[in-house]
C-alpha cells in the first residue's frame, strides 16, 4: 500500500524536536487558544496529506494493474466458444480498444464522482460488488481485530510484567510461533481437526461459508456465529502476536522508569502501579499499531477468506486479479488504500489528544 503508514510514534519524536515554533497568537488569547490553533493547523495538514495520498493511490491503481501481463477478454472467455469478432466486440464494450490516455482520463474522471466502472466479469457496478462483500469482511476481520487486539494487549502486559518468567517465555514463544504460521495452513488444520473431526474430537464447526443457507431470524445470527468460529480463531491466532510483542516491549521500556519507582514509593500496590501508571504510557505505540491494523480490517484476509470460502472483499480481490478484472481490482485497491489512509489520518488526528506533545 502506498498509504501513509508512518507510525505516529515516529512523528511524535519529530514533533518533539523539529519544526519552527508556531507563530505566536496574540498574548491576550492565552496558551489554550494557541494550542487549539496549532492543533487545527496540524489536523488540516494531516487531512491535506491524506487527500494527496488518496489521489496518488487513484493514479497508481490505474497503472499498477495494467503492468500485469494479461488479456482480460481472452481470460474471461477461456474455454468458451467465441469468435474473433465476439472478442473484438467485448474489447470495445470494456473500452480496452481505446488509447491508454483516454482510458486513464475516463477512469480518473469517473472515479472522482465515485464511479469505478462496471466489473468485466460480473457485469455489475464495481461499487455495488464492493458494498455487497464489505459487510462479510467487516464482520469477520472486525471481530478478529477486536479479539486479537484485546488478547495481545492483555498478554503483552502480563508477559512484560513477569519478564523472564516461565509464562513470559511460553507466551512469547507461542505467539511468535503462531505469528510465523501461514494462515491458510492453520485454517486447513483447524478444518481437519474441528470441522471434519479427528479421533475423539468431533466435527463441531462448518467447513466454510458464512451461513448454511436455511436459517432465518435469530437462528441465522447463531448460524453465522457458528460459521465464524474457525476463521476468527485462525485470524486471532496469527494476529495477536504483533500486538503482544509491541505491548510487551513498550511496557518493558517503561518498567525501569523513575516514575514507577516513585509510584511504588508512595505505597501503591504493584497491580495499581502497572494498571494506572505503566500501562497507559506503554499503550501509546500499541494504539498506533491498532490504528494501522484497523485500516487493514477493510482489506480482509485473502488467504483466510479463501480457505473458509468467506464471501468478503479478500476473495473478491482474488477473483478480480485472476482475470484481471481491471475496474474491480482498481476499485478494490482504492478502497483498501483509503481505509488504511483514513485509519492513519485518524491516528494522527487523535494522537495529540493522547500525547499532548504531538502536533504542537
Amino acid at each position: 500500500m502506498t498509504a501513509d503508514s508512518t507510525p505516529a510514534l515516529v512523528k511524535q519524536a519529530d514533533a518533539d524536536t523539529d519544526g519552527p515554533a508556531p507563530a505566536g497568537p496574540p498574548a491576550a488569547r492565552g496558551p489554550r487558544a494557541r494550542n487549539t490553533k496549532a492543533y487545527l493547523t496540524y489536523v488540516a495538514a494531516k487531512i491535506a496529506g491524506a487527500a494527496v495520498s488518496l489521489f496518488a493511490v487513484l493514479v497508481t491503481s490505474f497503472f499498477l494493474f495494467r503492468l500485469i501481463p494479461s488479456d482480460p477478454v481472452k481470460q474471461m472467455t477461456g474455454g468458451r466458444r467465441v469468435s474473433t469478432e465476439q472478442l473484438e466486440s467485448l474489447r470495445h464494450q470494456f473500452g480496452l480498444d481505446q488509447p491508454m490516455w483516454q482510458q486513464f482520463t475516463t477512469y480518473v474522471g469517473d472515479a472522482l464522482t465515485g464511479d469505478f466502472g462496471t466489473s468485466f466479469q460480473f457485469h455489475a457496478p464495481v461499487m455495488d460488488k464492493i458494498v455487497e462483500a464489505l459487510p462479510a469482511t467487516l464482520l469477520l476481520t472486525g471481530t478478529a481485530y477486536v479479539l486479537y487486539s484485546a488478547l495481545g494487549i492483555w498478554l503483552g502486559t502480563r508477559t512484560a510484567w513477569r519478564n523472564g518468567s516461565t509464562s513470559d517465555r511460553f507466551n512469547t514463544a507461542l505467539a511468535l510461533t503462531l505469528y510465523s504460521v501461514p494462515s491458510f495452513w492453520l485454517g486447513l488444520l483447524l478444518i481437519i481437526v474441528f470441522s471434519v473431526g479427528i479421533g475423539p474430537i468431533p466435527g463441531m464447526f462448518p467447513t466454510g461459508g458464512l451461513e448454511s443457507g436455511n436459517e432465518t431470524g435469530f437462528a441465522y445470527v447463531l448460524d453465522v456465529a457458528h460459521h465464524m468460529v474457525l476463521p476468527v480463531i485462525t485470524l486471532v491466532a496469527v494476529g495477536y502476536a504483533q500486538t503482544l510483542l509491541v505491548m510487551r516491549s513498550s511496557l518493558l521500556d517503561e518498567m525501569g522508569s523513575d516514575y514507577l519507582t516513585t509510584a511504588r514509593a508512595k505505597g501503591l500496590r504493584d497491580d495499581a502501579v502497572r494498571r494506572k501508571h505503566a500501562v497507559p504510557n506503554a499503550m501509546l505505540p500499541t494504539f498506533t499499531l491498532m490504528f494501522v491494523n484497523l485500516g487493514h480490517v477493510v482489506a480482509g484476509q485473502i488467504l483466510v477468506e479463501t480457505v473458509f470460502s468467506w464471501p468478503g472483499l479478500g476473495g473478491l480481490f482474488y477473483q478480480g486479479l485472476s482475470v484481471p478484472d481491471l475496474p474491480l481490482v482498481q476499485g478494490l485497491f482504492f478502497v483498501f488504500a483509503t481505509a488504511v489512509i483514513l485509519a492513519n489520518t485518524l491516528a494522527d488526528v487523535l494522537y495529540p489528544l493522547l500525547d499532548p506533545r504531538v502536533g504542537r
Binding site: I68, P69, S70, D71, K74, Q75, M76, G78, G79, R81, S83, T84, Q86, L87, E88, S89, L90, R91, Q93, Q121, H123, A124, E132, A150, L151, I153, W154, T157, F184, L188, S195, V196, P202, G203, M204, F205, T207, G208, L210, E211, A219, D223, Y259, T262, R269, D271, A272, R275, P280, N281, M283, E305, F308, S309, P311, G315, L316, Q319, L353, D355
Partner: protein, 626 residues
Amino acid sequence: MVERVPPHSAQPRSRLRVLLAAGAAALGLAAASVVPGIPLGAAAPQQAQAADSGKTTLTVAVAQSVDSLSPFLAQKLLSTSVSRLMYDFLTNYDAKDNHAIPGLATKWEPSADKLTWTYTIRSDSKWSDGQQATAEDAAWTFNKIMTDEAAAQANGSFVTNFRKVTAPSPTKLVIELKEPQATMAALDVPIVPEHVWEKVGDFSKFNNDTKFPIVGNGPFILSDYKVDQYVKLKANKDFWRGSPKFDEVVFKTYKDQDAAVAALRKGEVSFVAGSPALTPAQAASLKGEKNVKVNEGPGRRFFSLATNPGAQTKDGKKFGNGNKALLDQKVRQALFLSIDRKTIIDKVFQGHAVEGQGYIPPRFSAYYWQPSASQSLGYDPARAAGLLDQAGYKLKGDQRVGKDGKPLDLRILCHATDPNDKAIGKYLKEWWGKLGIGLKVNCLDDVSVPWYAGEYDLAFDGWSVNPDPDFVLGIHTCAALPAKAKASAATDNFICDKTYDDLYKKQLAEYDPAKRADIVKQMQSWMYDSGYMNVIAYPNAVEAYRTDQIKSITTMPEAAGNIYGQDGYWSWWSAVPAGSGTDTDSGGGGSSSTGVVIGIVAVVVVLAGGGFLLMRRRRTTADDRE
C-alpha cells in the same frame, strides 16, 4: 526523568473490561457451537440429505463463483451449467454416446438446399409461471442474440451464420442460414421466456439475479442465490422429461479445494469435483473413506504441446518471434518423437490419464482417431535424432547447431498455476537436452499475452472438447486469426493452412454424420502429421460423492463417465437420494452429543475464568482503597 502522566482520555479501558469483552465474544462463539439445530459432527449428512420435512437436497461443492445468471452473459462453467438446468435447449446430447436427442425441439430437419432448418417445438413444456413454452420464445431468443450486441456476449458465435429466424406457429421454428452448417443440432443456447425477458432494458447489465424463483422450463427452477455462497435450485415437478428425484440441488462455493474435500468427508456436501479433477493425493485420501465413492471417468480434455507455426494476422502480416527452426516439420516431429508419454502418464498424472494420440478424446467415440502404425510418432529418440540431422541441426559436442551456427534453444510457455506443466517441463528439458536441444520453461500466471503476441516457441495447451467437435477444430482455421497483431482472437496457435481449412469447410457442410466423422478424422490426421499440435494425454475426470446421500447417479458416457460438467443435465436430473434408512455415520467421529458436551465445557471454562478474574478485580480494588 519527568514522570509522564497521560491525559485521562489516553487511559486504556480497564483490563477487566477488555477481558470481559473478549470473554463475551468467545462465549458467543463457543455458545453458537452448541445451539440446538445447528449441525454438529455427524449430524451433517442428515442436513445434506433430509434437513427439514424430509426434503432431499443434493449439495455440490463448486470452486467457481457465478459471473452472471443471465444466459446471455454467463461465461464460466458453473454459470453455464446452471443455465442448462434452468432453461431447456433445442436439443440435448444422449448420455450414452453423445448423439443429439430431443430437447425443447422434438425433431429437426434441413431443407434440400441445406440452408433452412425446421424444428418442431414440443407442446408439453411449460414455463414455471404456467405459460406455454413456444417456438416464439426460441425465435425471440435467437433474434435477440443476432440483433443486440450486449445479448451476444456469451452465445454470439452460434448465430453468426444465421440469416433469419422465424416462428410461423407456436410449434414450428425456422432458421435460415447463410452457409450450410452441420452443427444445427448442437446449438447450446438456453431458450428464455420472451414474456419475461422482453422487459429487460440493457442486456449488458441485467444479471437475472434479483427476483426469485426465476422463470424457467428446465429440470430445475432457480429458487435462491447468494453471491459467492450458493445457488439453490428446486426440482421442476412439471418438467416434461420427468421430475428430478432430489427436491433440491445446491451449488455451494468452496474456494479451496482441500476444504471442499473436507466438506465431503464430513458430509456437508454430497459431491465434489476437481477443477478440473481431484488431485491424485485427494483421490487417494478419499478412496478408503467410508460412504465415499471416488468416480473416475474419461475426461473431455486433451493435454498437448503446441508449436508456434509463425504468428500472423488474417491479412498475412507476420509478427512475434517464434523460433524459425519450428517451421520445419521434421524438427517439430523430432521433438514429439522424444516425448515419453507413458512416463508422463505414470509419473505426472499418476495413472489418472490416458495416453494421447488424436486431437479428439476417446470418449467422443464417433470422432476419435488414432494414427496408423506407420504414422505414429511414438517415443523414439533415435529417430528424432535422425530427423534433426536431416533438418540440418547436427550435433556439435552436446548441442544441436543449425546451419547458421546457432544452437537450437527453445522456449516453452507454461501455466504457473498448473503443477502438471511444471513437472512435464522438467521431463522435456531432460529428454530434449539428451538430443542436444536447449529448453527454457517460462511459467507465467497468464500466458495469453506472450501467446497472442506470438512470442513463444512452444506452449502447453489443452481444451475441453464438446460432443460436436466443430469449435475445437475451428480454432485452427485461418478465419480464427486476429485482425490486428497481438489482439485477442479465436485462434489457438496461429495455424492457417489451406488443406486444413478446406477440410474444415467440408465437414461443416456435410449433413451425413458418418461422412462428417470421416472428414473430422482426416483433419486430425493432418494435424498429427503436421506436428503443430502434439496431444500428450487425456486427463481423467476424478471426482467423488457420498453414497449415503446419493444412491445412484448417471455418468456420461453412461458406462463409465464423469458427473460434473456433463453435456446435459443427466447427473443432477437422474441422481437418486439414498434411502432415509441408510447408515449416515460419516465417520466424522463422535456424535452430536460429544460436540454439545465439549461446547458446554468451553462455555463453563470461559464463565469460570471470567468469574475468577472478576473476583480478583474486586479484591484488588478493595485493597487499593485501603
